[in-house]
Symmetry: C2
Subunit: 325 residues, 2 copies
Amino acid sequence: MVTIKDVAREAGVSVATVSRVLNDNGYVGADTRKKVMEAIAELNYSPNEVARSLYKRESRLIGLLLPDITNPFFPQLARGVEDELSQAGYRLLLGNSDENIQKELEYIQTFVQNNVVGIITATNHVDYKIYEALDLPLVLLDRASENYPAVYADGREGGRLAAKTLIEKGAERITLVKGPANIKPAQDRFQGAIEELSQADVDFSVLSTTSYSFEEAQGWAEELFDKFSDTDGIIASNDIVGIAIIHEAMERGKRIPEDVQIIGYDDIPQSRLSYPTLSTIRQPAYEMGREAAKLLIRTIKKEPGVEQTIQMPVELIERKTTRKE
Amino acid sequence: MVTIKDVAREAGVSVATVSRVLNDNGYVGADTRKKVMEAIAELNYSPNEVARSLYKRESRLIGLLLPDITNPFFPQLARGVEDELSQAGYRLLLGNSDENIQKELEYIQTFVQNNVVGIITATNHVDYKIYEALDLPLVLLDRASENYPAVYADGREGGRLAAKTLIEKGAERITLVKGPANIKPAQDRFQGAIEELSQADVDFSVLSTTSYSFEEAQGWAEELFDKFSDTDGIIASNDIVGIAIIHEAMERGKRIPEDVQIIGYDDIPQSRLSYPTLSTIRQPAYEMGREAAKLLIRTIKKEPGVEQTIQMPVELIERKTTRKE
């Protein structure tokens, strides 16, 4: 491949001079400029290589695709990604897909057009074909994969842990809130909880929901108590829904955790401020973001022996919506 | 200025062929490529112009600088900015400054290096000198300015409205939580509340705080009730602090709103899920983001008669932490 040194030699000037011409930066006489341009032509040093070299120095962009940053789980992920990337000199191009495939495709196309050097995606509608065609380092975040490097928390274990906790703490009529069907981590934790509940000597019901939105969470909470009014243990689909359920239980005069225990999922910052504070299964969102960024950087740098998959641990955070043993 | 058409004419090829050479996209024979490169050299069509033309088509990047996206007010702003920009074909480079000047400078430098066509900043430590030197369209978001286009909500009016509401609803020993001194909108709303309280026939106290963080909010709430245990009306510095105050009041067995009324600021999505739900002063964060993006796009396009400043209205959202009249 023809390099800037070859161009400098051919033109009989220094590399710095070629660089000044390339960057239009600093004074270069018209004759010298012409000599450099001719050398570029002679050597077939393509303008695209020029552009690429400019980019190489100037573009250290990473594309980050999220479902929706207004869900409080994702700002934590994004900050983790950003903090790690920015320490390493990379910058973040952000897109929210709203789990809409069309938006996801558009963002990926513009990421590529903007010469990102890698992509981190936390969406659930991934069209693998596009990603296959990309030829760019890619890391999946908040979802497992056999085809791509991925950083995710152990959702199945998290679901099991939530169910196990309520069973151990004496809940006998458990309601399990099933999160949106199209969101893989929601289904993982649901499956984990179902496994644990099925093996236990306990009655349980499932409330099926289709979103994590703040706007709709209150509705799910109302529906839950309308349908399963005597439930004494609720496994929420995430903390937002858990906080809405606390609110609805309080509205209905239920004592927490005496009449009903509630366990959330995620450990978003808000869950420590609800009344009562929400017991939950913690996913280390910020750390997951950092790990995904590290993994991507190692992949970009083609470091040998980079692990393909990082499964992060989940943990029970006991606050006041579950009983003390 | 030499254009791609001049290069095509000189090389005796079509513009499409020149474009294929420039983009290294599609088959171009070695001879044709050489002819195009020679024409580029002959006409002194500088590689930087090539790069610029690549950028012109490919870079429609906008830099967005936020204090911290994990504060739930900012994802709303960011979504508003992104939704508007992406409709117009622009993409978002995101940076969180943590109100740290060094980080702010680094982000602005890399925004420029990545050829952003404009910047939106919601930080409070703006070093005007850098922005002056930028020569790039700039819109300030969530802060007023006489020097730059700005989109912000009427914080002073919001503070007045919060104080007026508590006074009208019968609070007699009001505690005003003063937000971080270095955050301009926090001081605007504080000043508005002070004005209103000073004119009224009411006792009041001020609790001075230095952050909006989730981690510290619980501490401010405890300090508040330790110092002003008989307060019957609290104007929180924002909704996060308001939700922490609800939690602490409930912990201490106070009835809300009978014993103590609480009013927040922002109307983040969480405030409708607290128990009791938080009355607050709403800033239209999402709409502010959209307006800032529109203003920036109009400025980039050099549309005539673009307004310099857009002040958005605030409004009282009455929920259950204030008394019904």
